[in-house]
Amino acid sequence: MTPRPAVTTLVLLLSGAVALAGCSGTSKNSVQSDAPAAGGTAAADPNATIKEGLRITFLPKAVNNPYFTVAQKGSDEAASAIKAELKATGPSEASASSQVTYINTAAQQKQNALVLSANDANAVAPALKTARSQGVKVVTFDSDAAADARDVFVNQATAQEIAAVQVKMVAEATGGQGEIAILSATPNATNQNAWIEIMKTELAKPANAGLKLVETAYGNDDDQTSFQKTQGLLQAHPNLKGIISPTTVGVAAAARYLSSSEYKGKVALTGLGTPNQMRDFVKDGTVKSFALWDPSKLGYLAVYAAGALASGQITGAEGEEFKAGDLGDYTIGAKGELVLGPPTEFTASNIDQFNF
C-alpha cells in the first residue's frame, strides 16, 4: 500500500464514518428548538431562613482575573455572613471548555450551590443542566448562561443601562458631535457584544444623531493589542472624537496610550473600568468619566441569592423577594433575573471615594 491511496482512503473513511452518524437529513429547518421556561417548579417558602453550612462553589471566568478577585471578596463576605462554606476555584484561562470541568466537579462534590460567570452561555448549559438535575442550585452573575440552564442570573445592571450610560458619557465628552469608535474585548465576548448591539440602537436615536459610530475594534483584552488597535483607530479616522471601551483591560490600555500621545485632550475616552485602574487618567484629564458597578457587591448579591435558593427561600420565579444582607431587599424580575443596580459613574470629583 503506497501512502497516497492510504491517505485518500483514510480521509474518505473518516468523512464517510461521520456521514453515517445520522441516517436522515438533519438541518436547521427540520428541528424545532424547545426552550423550557426558567424558574423552579417547587414552591418557594419566603419565610424560610437561610441554612447554615451551605457548600457553595464560586466559579469566575478565570482565576487570576483582577475583576473577579474583587467580586470574590464580596462573595467571601456574604458567605461568612450566612455561615456558608465558599470554595473559589476555576480555570486559569477564560475558555468554556475548561469551565465545564469545574461545573462537573461541583456536581460530583455535591455542592449545594454553584455561583458562576459563564464564558460561553451555550457551552456551559449542558453541564449546568446536569448539575441542576443532581440538586445543585445554579446562580450566574456578570455573564449569563442560557436561561434554562440556571436558576437565577444576578445582573450587574441591565444591559440597557450599561449601554446607555456609556453612550451618554461619550456624548457628554464629545459635545454630542463627531465620529466615535468602540474598542471591545474579544470578538466572541458575549457581554460586550450584547452591550455593543444596544449601543448601536442608542446611537440611532435622534438625540444622538450627531454621533457616528465608524468602527468596532477588538483589543482581545490584551495590553499590547489594545494599544495597537487604539493607535490604528486614531490614525484610520482622523476625525475621531471619542472612543468607548466597554472592557476594563481595553479602557485602561487606551487611557495609558492617549495620556502619552498627542491625541490627549483631543479624543475623548470612556467605557467600563475600575477606579483604581483609571485614577491617574481621570486626574490627568485623559478621561472625564467612566462607569462600572462594584464587583464585590455583585459577588455578595450572587452568594446571597445562592443561599436563598439552596434554602428554599426563593425558586427563581418572577416576583419572589429576599433580603440580601447589607444590600437590602431584592425582587426577582423576568426570566429569573436580579439586577444589582444602576452602574456608578466615576469622575474626578468622586473617584477617590472608591477603592477597587
Binding site: 500500500m1 503506497t2 491517505v7 438541518s27 468554556a96 471548555s97 460530583q108 451555550n122 457551552a123
Partner: protein, 322 residues
C-alpha cells in the same frame, strides 16, 4: 534503547496507577466513580483525537502547531453551514475534508518548499484561526439538535464511556496498527531517525510526511466536530491554546521531539495521565497555580528521567556516548 523507552512507558503507567490510587483515597472514592470517569473521558476526548495523528507527525521529525486552529475553523464552518440550512449529514464530511485540506496546505509548504514545520504551522495557526473569524465573526451558533449534541454529553448506553472516547478507542487501534505493524509505520520511524537514510532506502519521504499532515488536519477537524457538539456551541474561538495541551501530552508520552522514537501507547498514557491528574487535583480542590506548575514539572520529568537514567547507566558500565 527500546528497553529504555519501554521503561518510560512503564513509568507512565505506574504514575497513572499512583494518581488513581492517591486520587481515590484523597477524594474519598469520588475519583474512580463512574460519573467522574465519564467526565474525565469527555475532558480528554479532543486532545486524545488530535494526539493520535500528531504522534506520527512528531515521530517523523516534524510538528504541527496549527491543530487547535483547525479545530476552531471546523467549528466555525459547522456553525455557518448549519445556519445556512445545510444538513448535518452533509456538513460533517465537508468539515473533515476541509480539515484534510488545511493539513495538506501545511504538508505541501513543509515538503515541497522545504520550510521548517514549526515555522509553517505557527503561521497557519494564525491563518486558520483568522479564517474561523472570517467565517463566523462574533456569532455563536448553538441550536444544534439534541440527537447530535448527545454524542458529546451522554454516555454509551449502559456504560459510563462517553461516545467520543469510544470513537477515539476505535481510531487508536487503527493508528496503532498503522504505526506499529505496517510498512507505512516503519517508514515513519525511518524518516524520523534518519531522513537521508530513509530516502536512500527508497522511502518516499515527502509523500509520507504529506500524508501525516493531511491526517492530522482531518483528525483535528473531527475533534472540532466533537468539541462543537459537546458544548453545543460553534464559535470562532473554540479550542484556543489547545495545541500546547496536545503537544505536551505527546511529549509526555515519550515521543522524541527529534523524531524516530515513541509509541502510541505511551502517548495515550500521557493523555490519560495529564487528564487524570488534572481531574484529581480539581476534585481535591487544589489551586489552579499548582495545576499549572505540575503540568510543567511533568513535562520536565518526562525528558529528564530517561536522560538521567540513561546517563547513570552509561557511566556505571563505563561506556561514553559519542
Amino acid at each position: 534503547m527500546l528497553e529504555r523507552f519501554a521503561r518510560w512507558e512503564t513509568a507512565l503507567v505506574a504514575l497513572l496507577v499512583l494518581v488513581a490510587v492517591v486520587g481515590q483515597i484523597r477524594t474519598g472514592g469520588a475519583f474512580l466513580d463512574g460519573g467522574n470517569l465519564f467526565y474525565l473521558g469527555l475532558d480528554i476526548g479532543e486532545v486524545a483525537l488530535i494526539a493520535l495523528p500528531l504522534t506520527l507527525v512528531v515521530v517523523s521529525g516534524e510538528i504541527d502547531l496549527s491543530v487547535a486552529s483547525v479545530l476552531g475553523l471546523s467549528s466555525a464552518v459547522i456553525g455557518e453551514l448549519w445556519d445556512a440550512g445545510w444538513t448535518l449529514e452533509a456538513i460533517l464530511p465537508t468539515v473533515v475534508v476541509l480539515g484534510a485540506v488545511c493539513g495538506a496546505v501545511n504538508g505541501l509548504l513543509v515538503t515541497r518548499l522545504g520550510l521548517p514545520s514549526l515555522a509553517v504551522t505557527i503561521g497557519t495557526l494564525a491563518l486558520y484561526r483568522g479564517l474561523a473569524l472570517v467565517v463566523l465573526g462574533d456569532r455563536a451558533v448553538a441550536d444544534f439538535p439534541a440527537s447530535f449534541t448527545e454524542f458529546g454529553t451522554a454516555p454509551v448506553p449502559g456504560t459510563w464511556v462517553p461516545w467520543p472516547i469510544l470513537l477515539c478507542a476505535v481510531l487508536a487501534v487503527a493508528f496503532a496498527i498503522t504505526l506499529h505493524t505496517s510498512s507505512f509505520g516503519r517508514s515513519v520511524y525511518a524518516i524520523g531517525s534518519n531522513e537521508e537514510g530513509a530516502r536512500f532506502s527508497g522511502i518516499r519521504v515527502k509523500r509520507v510526511k504529506l500524508t501525516l499532515f493531511v491526517l492530522t488536519g482531518a483528525m483535528s477537524a473531527l475533534a472540532g466536530i466533537v468539541y462543537t457538539f459537546r458544548f453545543s456551541s460553534a464559535r470562532a474561538d473554540n479550542g484556543v491554546g489547545l495545541e500546547l495541551a496536545v503537544v505536551a501530552a505527546v511529549l509526555l508520552g515519550g515521543v522524541s521531539i527529534f523524531g524516530g522514537r515513541g509509541t502510541l501507547g505511551g502517548v495515550l498514557a500521557g493523555v490519560l495521565l495529564l487528564g487524570g491528574l488534572r481531574n484529581v487535583l480539581i476534585l481535591d480542590d487544589v489551586s489552579t497555580e499548582i495545576l499549572t506548575v505540575v503540568t510543567g514539572l511533568l513535562l520536565l520529568v518526562s525528558v529528564l528521567a530517561p536522560a538521567l537514567t540513561a546517563r547513570v547507566r552509561t557511566s556505571s558500565t563505563g561506556r561514553r556516548s559519542p
